[in-house]
């Protein structure tokens, strides 16, 4: 067995539950004795992605594949899509509504942080259809 697959549903309307999936992945990686620097990066990047799905897309699904070499996380939503990916990647650029910002989220650091903490990031998005983020964190980096 060289691959472990996990699947989570991220509910769209509940901020208090956002982060449950990334937290579970973190616990599992710790229990596996995974490279601790990689665990930290996975936890941070996946949490940012989960929050994004809650804020912008009404939730979605998370698929995580763990192998000894890397952790691949795929976050799939059927939200509004990202009209301008380049802008969304800029630190501080945010389209989050005020009520979300008042909770301390939506500072425009989601995608930039995901980029910062992962080794690979692919964004497939279509306006009106949804977004799929595929990120990889390599162990031992």
């Amino acid at each position: 067995m060289s691959m472990l697959s996990l699947k989570y549903v991220v509910p769209g309307d509940d901020f208090t539950r956002a982060g449950e999936a990334s937290s579970d992945v973190k616990h599992k990686l710790k229990q596996l004795g995974y490279d601790s620097k990689a665990i930290r990066r996975v936890a941070i990047a996946m949490y940012e992605g989960e929050i994004n799905m809650v804020i912008h897309a009404g939730g979605g699904e998370a698929f995580v594949e763990i192998s000894p070499e890397e952790v691949e996380i795929q976050l799939v939503d059927h939200g509004p899509g990202i009209p301008d990916v380049e802008k969304a990647m800029q630190a501080g650029y945010s389209t989050a509504p005020d009520n979300v910002r008042s909770l301390g989220f939506g500072a425009g650091m989601g995608l930039p942080n995901i980029k910062k903490y992962t080794d690979e990031l692919k964004i497939d998005t279509e306006v009106g259809k949804g977004t799929t983020l595929t990120m990889k964190v390599f162990a031992g980096h």
């Binding site: 472990l4 710790k30 229990q31 004795g33 601790s36 936890a43």
Partner: protein
Amino acid sequence: MDRFFHSVTLESEKCVGCTNCIKRCPTEAIRVRNGKAHIISERCIDCGECIRVCPHHAKKAQYDHLNIIEGFRYKIALPAPSLYGQFNNLDDIDIVLTGLKKMGFDDVFEVSRAAELVSDATRKCMAEGNLLRPVISSACPAVVRLIRVRFPDLCDHVLPLNAPMETAALLAKEEVSKREGIPMKEIGAFFITPCPAKVTDIRVPIGTADSAVDGAIAISEIFPKLTSAMEKLEKVEPLSKSGVIGVGWASSGGESAALLDEKYLAADGIDNVIRVLEELEDERIRELDFIELNACSGGCVGGVLCVENAYVAKARLQKLRKYLPVAQNHLENGIPGLMEWNEDLEFAPVLKLSDNLSEAMRMMSEIDAMCREFPGLDCGACGAPSCRAFAEDVVRGVAQKSSCIFVLKEQIQNMADTLSAIGGFMPAGSKPDEENRNDG
């Protein structure tokens, strides 16, 4: 020293094998096997939650008894500031300190004095800016042990300074040795402790190879003798040299308030502590400089070896502190070497499934699959705190699947179905029941 020494132990004959402690343990370190609780030594952090929750008083803290002081020529008491909160209508700390001397100690050195120096040293460390932010307090030994077994990436954030107890012992012995001309090894320093984690911290310290503290006596043990000694005092000696800052360390928030920097957080109670550590690990808590964490609700006044309710003790301390100077102990020069850790805090991966990652992954798949077979009630009847923990135990090979009463019930049902199927089967040579009856 025994690496696995723990102050928290089980009194087997009192244990009825209920599920209270297994449910409450923050590191899932307790299992019920053959009707008795067992503590998994390498996981235990001596927080004392099981002592607090056990309705049968089957968990207890081991600590030293008062007669331990007889082994030393010169005996120093190191009272924790939480001790001062245990007495009704106390208006002068000196009464407690003189009472301790009356009980047989030659001298007292308040741990709150050392706490003021630790506060001073922490401010200096923070100002130098070499520490990873936010800095996590190292004062609560249960919290430091929790970080060591569960939070690998936070180990480097822990303040590398000895807790006030250790610094108090070192300073007190040095002072007495100089003043009385007595060799260090003939001087004994004894902590009057509110908690079992401190007892463990003396036997198996973190950050230093050997503790300078020679014993820890529980507040609850010393309390009756001390109160009667305090009642019989003819003269009260002026012994206390602590201020508001030092005594404030007894409750949650006291250590951080002493940093004179508002960018801090103080959390207490083991569940809250874990929540903060999880969020720190995920960098969800930003813009803070200092994190104070106490395993007990209320802080050290909530320790299981205290006699008074934590909140009553806190209220009494507030009254006592009112008339004290801000601080009476300051570092003249830099931070003396004796206050610093000389060993790093190293992560101990005791919850890991296997040393081999592929093997661990195989085990995890098996655990995930097994979890789906269990009812998910987390009833604890199997002796593990949750269905998931039980599945882990089965896959690790330390528990039997049929210890789950639901699995067992299913097995019995299957067996019953098989028996009934066999019962309904007729050998070819026999006549059916009905024909037999008609014949009659």
